[in-house]
């Protein structure tokens, strides 16, 4: 299997607080990798390093390497703007831009210089279909995205990310605020998408991790405790902490 993201001895601190402690993990191409762990264990922080959104935080100190296709993205020479075309992100809370459904999804492609109406339309349609949202919104693409339901908004955000044509999709607890039906739709979409993309899914819902990921990583207090195929992690965990967490005995 090909390594897509290689995190090598990543250490990160906010001021004096060390949040990530020597994390080494490989994420493989065309898989869904689940990150789980109790609140505050540093999952979101890792995500924000991979997409360099960490740049917007103050007082951050980072050591180690994060490579995508072998190139260290923490290097000075790596432009975060270019990186974010390859690494799309879906956040926990869906935040549509205050514009139409169509324009939300066309936002990324337009930034990449695509302006032809037909081409944009093709991208919007394709992305919405992949996010399992097309049928619900195809007749009202020009209405405000803020009018969609929470579940629809989250799929809109997924479609918006897909429209970037990224190689990697990072999802940080994308279903935490959603009902079971919306959650199922997102999971279906992700399952379809992994053949084209490399997906990292952060979730506090161990059942969800078990359901749809190929690999699972368990983090605790900024340390990677266990990382293996999802099967192994859930059937024969090596660490006591992992087992406790999976069985819900934690915290």
């Amino acid at each position: 299997m090909n390594t897509k993201i290689a995190i090598d001895r990543l250490r990160l601190s906010f001021g004096k607080n060390q949040i990530l402690k020597n994390i080494t993990i490989n994420v493989y191409k065309n898989t869904i990798t689940g990150f789980m762990g109790p609140s505050g264990s540093g999952k979101s922080t890792i995500i924000s390093v991979i997409n360099r959104m960490i740049d917007f935080e103050d007082n951050v100190e980072i050591h180690g390497k994060v490579s995508i296709d072998g190139i260290n993205i923490l290097d000075e020479s790596c432009s975060p703007v270019i990186l974010r075309r390859r690494v799309g992100t879906v956040f926990a809370v869906p935040i549509p831009l205050p514009r139409s459904i169509f324009e939300n999804i066309a936002y990324g492609p337009r930034l990449q210089g695509i302006s032809g109406r037909t081409e944009l339309h093709r991208i919007v349609e394709g992305s919405l279909k992949k996010a399992y949202l097309w049928d619900e919104v195809k007749d009202r693409l020009s209405t405000s995205a803020l009018k969609l339901s929470g579940g629809q908004q989250q799929r809109l955000c997924l479609a918006r990310t897909l429209a970037l044509k990224p190689e990697i999709i990072l999802l940080d607890e994308p279903c935490s605020g959603l009902d079971p039906i919306s959650t199922a739709k997102i999971e279906d979409a992700l399952n379809q998408l992994k053949s084209e993309y490399t997906i990292v899914l952060v979730s506090n819902n161990t059942k969800q991790i078990a359901r749809i990921t190929d690999f699972a990583a368990f983090f605790y207090m900024g340390t990677l405790i266990e990382y293996n195929t999802t099967d192994k992690v859930f059937t024969t965990p090596m660490e006591k902490q992992t087992e406790d967490y999976i069985q819900g005995k934690f915290g």
Binding site: S79, V81, I82, L111, Q112, G113
Partner: protein, 287 residues
């Protein structure tokens, strides 16, 4: 494409820095040019003869503006005497007594007072206040009193708006605590709310003073512009601002420099007032 965007990014940043610096540049230019015109006369005639001098006869070498400095302060104090109690009580009414609806309607309406041009205030002063003062109190009506009344009304929006903000930002728990101890509304306002909003209210007064002392067009229409220190509130007077506005369009030579010297004095007074007001506001925020 992406290179273009990144290049633009850097270009934009430099343009924005230049824009931001423009404010400083303008301030600098204003300072330099008013000082450059205003200072030479101080050296030539002497600081004491200008600031302490009683006689303003610029075409005959006398540049005393002491009466104008005094007059500027007198109208400012007069304006405050009228505007401060009115404005503060209005702010108290809005923050403590009126309902939310009244507040939403009245506050912007009162702030609209600030939009009425000063020439209109001056005009109304001449038509309505000056005759009133003349007929009931005597004198020509063009007086310290009339000017103070008009300026008092003119600084109302400043005082109301800033005091209101100070009052409304007193935490709710203060009020509740006081009510819980059995205090009446007025006792709460008087003993708890006003003291905690003190520095903001003070800042509103000082900014109001700044507005009054800098006011020009209304003042020259109502003040009478006499060149001496007024002996009573019914006497006419000329302020620093009035002196500049009355003579700038035809002054030349040393006369014009004298007007810039007047401007320098005005600028220094305004700077001190602003400094005090900002200091007060900062302390409020720090608390």
């Amino acid at each position: 494409m992406i290179e273009k965007a990144l290049l633009k990014e850097r270009f934009v940043k430099w343009v924005l820095i230049a824009f931001a610096l423009s404010s400083l540049l303008f301030l600098f230019l204003i300072f330099i040019f008013i000082l450059a015109e205003g200072l030479p006369l101080f050296l030539k005639v002497g600081v004491g003869n200008i600031i302490g001098g009683f006689k303003w006869a610029p075409t005959r070498g006398s540049f005393g503006i002491f009466p104008m400095i005094v007059s500027s302060f007198l109208v400012t104090i007069g304006a405050l005497a009228i505007g401060a109690p009115m404005g503060l009580s209005c702010a108290i009414y809005l923050s403590e007594y009126s309902g939310k609806k009244t507040q939403m309607l009245l506050k912007p309406a009162l702030e609209l007072l600030a939009g009425i041009p000063s020439v209109v205030y001056g005009f109304l002063g001449v038509i309505y206040i000056v005759p009133l003062v003349r007929n009931y109190l005597g004198g020509s009506g063009f007086s310290l009193l009339s000017t103070s009344i008009i300026l008092g009304v003119m600084i109302l929006p400043t005082i109301i708006s800033i005091s209101f903000d100070a009052l409304i930002s007193v935490p709710k728990t203060y009020r509740e605590g006081s009510f819980a101890m059995g205090a009446t509304k007025w006792q709460t306002i008087y003993k708890v709310i006003l003291p905690s909003a003190k520095s903001g209210i003070l800042a509103s007064f000082i900014l109001g003073m700044g507005r009054a002392i800098g006011e020009t067009m209304a003042v020259i229409m109502i003040a009478g512009n006499a060149l001496k220190i007024p002996g009573s509130i019914l006497d006419p007077l000329r302020t620093l601002t009035g002196n500049i506005a009355l003579e700038l369009s035809y002054a030349s030579g040393d006369h014009r420099l004298g007007l810039f010297s007047t401007g320098v004095v005005l600028m220094v007074i305004i700077m001190i007032l602003n400094y005090i007001a900002n200091f007060g506001i900062k302390r409020k925020i720090a608390k």
